[in-house]
């Protein structure tokens, strides 16, 4: 075992950090979450920053050089994520692109598709969204009913997707639809790449409990898409979707942002009181600070362990579910603790002059309740771990569906 960064990895960090700090200094004020109305501005900064990263050779660290990536390692990628997140230097508005679309296009796409989409993803010019869930198919992806009917060289798509994040500003979409209603449920699906400006798409925002409209409903009304926009073959939709979710669960490492979160809680604990004394001196608070500090560090060690394995040639498997389950449940508990720590102040939202940290933790607390639902609920992740990692049998109902 060697947990030290290699000289090369250390050199990467030493090279990247000054570059990053230079970019931040140049930008001056970085738009943050609290400027909820300034979403456009935040997205614009994402595009600008991504372009800078791309030009400097820091985009798509692990992706092939021929498509504009760096051809680097997962550890370098981890370092980059950590340094960006520690500084809250930019929000990742293209999580779907980097976490899902990019991976499957590289894995299943034609050369034309790779050429067309990967560089545009890396240089910040195209943001992606995904259309998987439907109102009656959440965890049960095989049950989805949006239809694509072949018509000459095109497919005509009708139906509705839901929980499509970023749809309102995305350029491209990965979409799973039913192309054959006459075969067993999971066999009749196909996977498309859709230009979000295609006629027949209607995006309607869904306000969530934070008050933001991060998610959307997306309606398809006779939307026409050429056959060349299909990823893989007709009927491959299930296989590619599952692979996509595997990629997603291995997506951007979030250690840096959780580190930032728990460091912030340590600071907060020094500045708020508990029974008339600084909270940091309260043994109950200390137990919880200690616990979350540990959990965040373990997230790093878990990530390093799984990346270290991937470096040795293993491919992303169901183990990604462990990481997703881990951080989503951890974050939920940690943000709940933030509320406890703030005491009555926890009720004050961003915009209140009395709000601590301008309501950052309130937003994070409310948003965290979605973590254990989106991208596969915790219950689904536990099924995957139980069945695909531990080899436990499927339950009778789901076993029957499969037949």
């Amino acid at each position: 075992m060697d947990f030290n960064l290699s000289p090369e990895e250390e050199a990467f960090r030493q090279e990247f950090v000054p570059w990053l700090e230079g970019v931040i200094a140049e930008k001056g004020k970085i738009p943050t979450f609290k400027d909820a109305e300034a979403l456009d501005e935040r997205v614009a900064w994402y595009r600008e920053m991504q372009k800078k990263l791309f030009d400097a050779g820091y985009a798509g660290i692990t992706w092939p050089k021929e498509y504009g990536g760096r051809g680097g390692t997962l550890i370098e990628s981890f370092i980059l994520d950590e340094e960006i997140q520690k500084r809250a230097a930019v929000e990742n508005f293209n999580g779907i692109g980097f976490g899902m679309a990019g991976g499957v296009i590289l894995a299943f796409g034609t050369d034309e598709q790779k050429d067309r989409y990967i560089p545009a993803m890396l240089n910040g010019s195209e943001i992606w969204c995904q259309g998987f869930s439907e109102p009656n198919a959440g965890s049960d992806l095989a049950a989805l009913s949006t239809r694509a009917v072949k018509d000459g060289d095109d497919y005509v798509i009708n139906g509705q997707k839901v929980w499509t994040s970023m749809a309102q500003m995305a350029d491209q979409c990965i979409l799973v639809v039913r192309t054959d209603p006459d075969v067993p449920k999971h066999k009749g699906l196909s996977f498309f790449i859709i230009d979000m400006k295609t006629p027949g798409i209607d995006v309607r925002p869904l306000v969530q409990i934070t008050g933001d409209a991060e998610f959307n409903e997306v309606y398809f009304d006779d939307m026409r898409v050429p056959r060349t926009q299909m990823l893989g073959e007709e009927g491959d939709g299930w296989k590619i979707s599952i692979a996509t979710l595997m990629f997603e669960r291995y997506a951007v490492s979030q250690y840096g942002s959780f580190r930032r979160s728990i460091d912030g809680l340590f600071e907060l604990a020094k500045n708020v009181t508990r029974n008339g004394r600084p909270a940091i001196e309260d043994p109950v608070i200390r137990q919880k600070l200690g616990q979350f500090h540990i959990e965040v560090e373990i997230l790093k060690h878990n990530t390093m362990r799984s990346r270290s394995k991937l470096l040795k040639g293993e491919v992303p498997g169901p183990e990604g579910s462990i990481e997703k389950l881990y951080w989503s449940e951890m974050n939920k508990a940690m943000q709940e603790f933030a509320m406890e720590l703030e005491g009555p102040y926890h009720q004050l939202m961003s915009g209140s002059k009395w709000a601590l940290q301008d309501g950052m933790y309130q937003f994070a607390f409310l948003r965290s309740r979605g973590n254990t639902i989106e991208a596969g609920t915790s219950e689904i992740q536990k099924n995957i771990i139980g069945e695909r990692v531990l080899g436990l049998p499927k339950d009778a109902a789901r076993a029957a569906v499969k037949k």
Binding site: N275, W354, I373, S378
Partner: protein
């Protein structure tokens, strides 16, 4: 005989409250009130007044009905099912009960009839910038002798519905001595007094409005003093117990409703060809929710009874109820969102109303950790 059931009168009151909240305060109304600075329409307020709820605890000599806290408690339980927005809790419990317990005869005569009729609203300004539910927490807001009375200075925070109250009862320090429990006084302050500025806070639970109340040389007459100068802490403590008992009833009502929403959804939502409630992960979460809901009811009912009867163990009963209801309401409403999945995470769904109310109620008058510690103090000093 020990009888943990409600009396027939209470059952009637409960049914009538259920009807009222279901008909007059449907979710759309509640959502509207979140966006409405007052938190209630005059129409709903007037209807509640007509039902007599605001006078339930006000003695008959002040034009109230003079019933017991237990009776009001069943109304709070039903309000929790909505969950009810507006200043009912602040005016009836914080305002009304503080005046009933601490007010001079003159003050009672002046204010209680209006509260009972719904014509007057009052609230209690307790917490300060360094919020602490103990005598040491009344520290930065001071009332000092001035011409014909007192001058009050300082900032109160998290004051429920101060912006719509006619009277703000202010807990202020009038004496600094070695024992912080001495030297705290209550003042009945007309909210239009000059020097008083009130600002609505932007809070997570939009149904329960809270304010910053800033006293800048607020001059009040001698007659604004409630009861004995410097001796207010025991009364504040008692009002906090009553308030917590009411909040707990509201919480168990909310838990009951959250459980119903969750179970209904689990019976009808299909995944992998089966209702999701047939899967143990969901079923067992529902079972746990049922268990904690019933347990929360048991302890909230007991606390309501103890407060109502003013039993010696009432403070203990209240701390037990507040700690347990806080922990479990938080959990139940969180699990409700989890089981609902994406839909439960939307603003349009009701789940978050309860989830946020759980947070708000916990932190009014001491959170779960505070009350567990207080309980151990009471139990070991007994």
């Amino acid at each position: 005989m020990v009888d943990t059931a409600f009396t027939e009168e209470q059952d009637m009151l409960k049914r009538s409250a259920r009807n009222f909240v279901e008909n007059e305060c449907p979710p759309e109304y509640v959502r509207e009130m979140w966006e409405n600075d007052e938190g209630i329409t005059q129409e709903v307020w007037n209807k509640m007044a007509e039902l007599g709820w605001m006078g339930l605890l006000v003695p008959e000599e002040y034009d109230g009905i003079g019933m017991s806290f237990q009776d009001l408690a069943v109304v709070f339980e039903e309000m929790g099912r909505v969950p009810m927005p507006g200043p009912f809790f602040s005016s009836v419990v914080l305002g009304g009960e503080t005046i009933r317990l601490a007010g001079t005869e003159e003050q009672k005569k002046a204010v209680l009839p209006g509260i009972a009729m719904g014509e007057t609203r009052a609230t209690l300004a307790l917490m300060e910038c360094d919020p602490l539910l103990s005598p040491a927490g009344i520290e930065s807001v001071k009332a000092e002798p001035a011409a014909d009375g007192y001058a009050i200075n300082g900032i109160k925070l998290f004051v429920p519905d101060a912006h719509t109250a006619d009277y703000i009862i202010c807990a202020a320090r009038t004496d600094e001595g070695a024992d912080p429990a001495k030297g705290i006084s209550l003042f009945l302050v007309d909210s239009k007094t000059s020097g008083l500025s009130i600002e609505l806070l932007k809070t997570m639970d939009g149904g329960r409005k809270q304010c910053e109340v800033n006293f800048e040389n607020v001059a009040v007459p001698e007659s604004a003093l409630m009861g004995q100068k410097g001796e207010a802490w025991p009364i504040i403590s008692k009002v906090a117990d009553i308030a917590n008992a009411a909040l707990c009833m509201e919480m168990v009502g909310g838990m009951e409703k959250s459980l119903e929403l969750t179970v209904d959804y689990a019976k009808t939502r299909i995944a992998f060809d089966q209702p999701i409630g047939s899967y143990q992960a969901i079923k067992h979460m529902c079972a746990d929710m049922m268990l904690i809901t019933e347990s929360a009811k048991s302890v909230a009912y007991y606390a309501a009874w103890a407060v109502s009867e003013d039993t010696p163990d009432a403070p203990e009963a209240v701390s037990m109820a507040k700690a347990y209801c806080s922990d479990t309401y938080r959990k139940a409403t969180g699990d409700c969102i989890q089981i609902m999945g994406g839909i439960g995470f939307t603003w349009e769904h009701d789940a978050h109303l309860y989830f946020k109310r759980a947070r708000c109620n916990e932190h009014l008058f001491g959170d779960a950790a505070f009350h567990k510690d207080r309980l151990v103090t009471m139990k070991t000093s007994a």
